[in-house]
Symmetry: C2
Subunit: 226 residues, 2 copies
């Protein structure tokens, strides 16, 4: 099993050109001593400027991406090399977290790393960056099953879902990396199955932690039975 | 069931007096425009100054506390009011996160909140603060079982552990809120059972996510069987 996890439509991007001259962005830039074009868009600071943006409610939440990536990369499954982690952003940029990469646990260091990667097109070999839609990313991954997790999906227990995952060789699970709303229609077109794993909507980092835990348990059980 | 979770000996504190005049702390203070006495100690920035501190390897990691609190407070069990969350710090301060409190997901906002709470002795009713050792905290909680999670404990599956938890009325689980090392002897004296839940050492936020997930499942199963 090689599990691919895509944090899809992630709310991670540099401040878009049209917001770089707004007051809140310029103040934040002065305070931080960083050029607006090299800063992450962050709802915590740029809220007022973001109201004019298209899809603003799905954007500018690097904290969500950070928490989700930490949930994924702190698991035994990831540390043992079973999981490849991708971030697909709202703006169709794909970051691949190379196996063995230890991401910064400190948010400020994570922000610095993401600003470097997105401004300079890569991060010292640990993280690669390219322009790609979900469709193009999946063409590269060549998964034998694509499952999207969404409150709009068919209810299924994590145990059942995990059984389906470990029955495949190269499955791909997509977790939404945004605070509100649903996958776009372009993303939904790429999904073989859309699954809902809880009666409540869950945050992406909670989904990530649970998913990898239950898959880990299933792999262990299978090993014991074999 | 009312589950008490204590993030114990958490690496959360204001910059101690003896470090407030060091170069790294003063530079950080100037950059942020915050008085050193009101800043969180943070290894990411104060590493050089921290080397002189007692137990330095267990201190100055507010990111760990943030990630662990988000893992705990984003779960359905917490949101449904089954869990009371406490932070007991290395310096014997206890924060109680009042039921229903939504902690900031943005680290910078969390840092601001913690600096306010620790400097001013409380946080707008959502978080209470007092001086208390683990022993004094447990006197207040009056738990019917105290379980510490540690790699030094007896191996037990999370399923088995969860069974023990839900058999109690007012259990207390302690998760270490520090990056390295083990519970202090004072903490260990308060523990009824010391349990290891994985062959690997796991980060506190991973432990928190798994623990609450498995307990949630056990409660659901119990409800279905009743």
């Amino acid at each position: 099993l090689k599990l691919n996890v895509v944090v899809a439509e992630a709310a991670l991007e540099l401040v878009p050109t049209e917001l770089q001259r707004t007051t809140v962005v310029r103040n934040d830039s002065l305070r931080r001593g960083v050029n607006p074009s090299r800063m992450l868009l962050d709802r915590s600071f740029h809220h007022v400027a973001m109201l004019k943006l298209k899809d603003d409610f799905k954007r500018g939440r690097p904290d969500i991406v950070h928490a989700t990536l930490l949930s994924l990369t702190s698991t035994p499954l990831y540390l043992d090399g079973f999981v490849t982690v991708y971030v697909h952003t709202h703006g169709d940029i794909v970051l691949e977290i190379k196996e063995g990469t230890r991401l910064p646990k400190s948010y400020l260091r994570f922000r610095g790393l993401m600003e470097k990667v997105l401004s300079e097109g890569g991060g010292e070999g640990l993280i690669t960056m390219r322009k790609a839609t979900i469709r193009e990313l999946l063409k590269d991954i060549q998964p034998d099953w694509v499952c999207g997790l969404s409150t709009q999906g068919v209810s299924m227990s994590l145990e059942e879902l995990s059984g389906k995952v470990i029955a495949r060789k190269n499955p791909c699970i997509m977790i939404g990396g945004f605070p509100h709303g649903h996958f776009s229609s372009e993303t939904l077109k790429q999904v073989d199955e859309l699954v809902r794993i809880h009666s409540r909507p869950l945050e992406a980092h909670v989904v990530a932690a649970r998913l990898l835990y239950v898959i880990e348990k299933r792999i262990e059980e299978k090993r014991t039975n074999d």
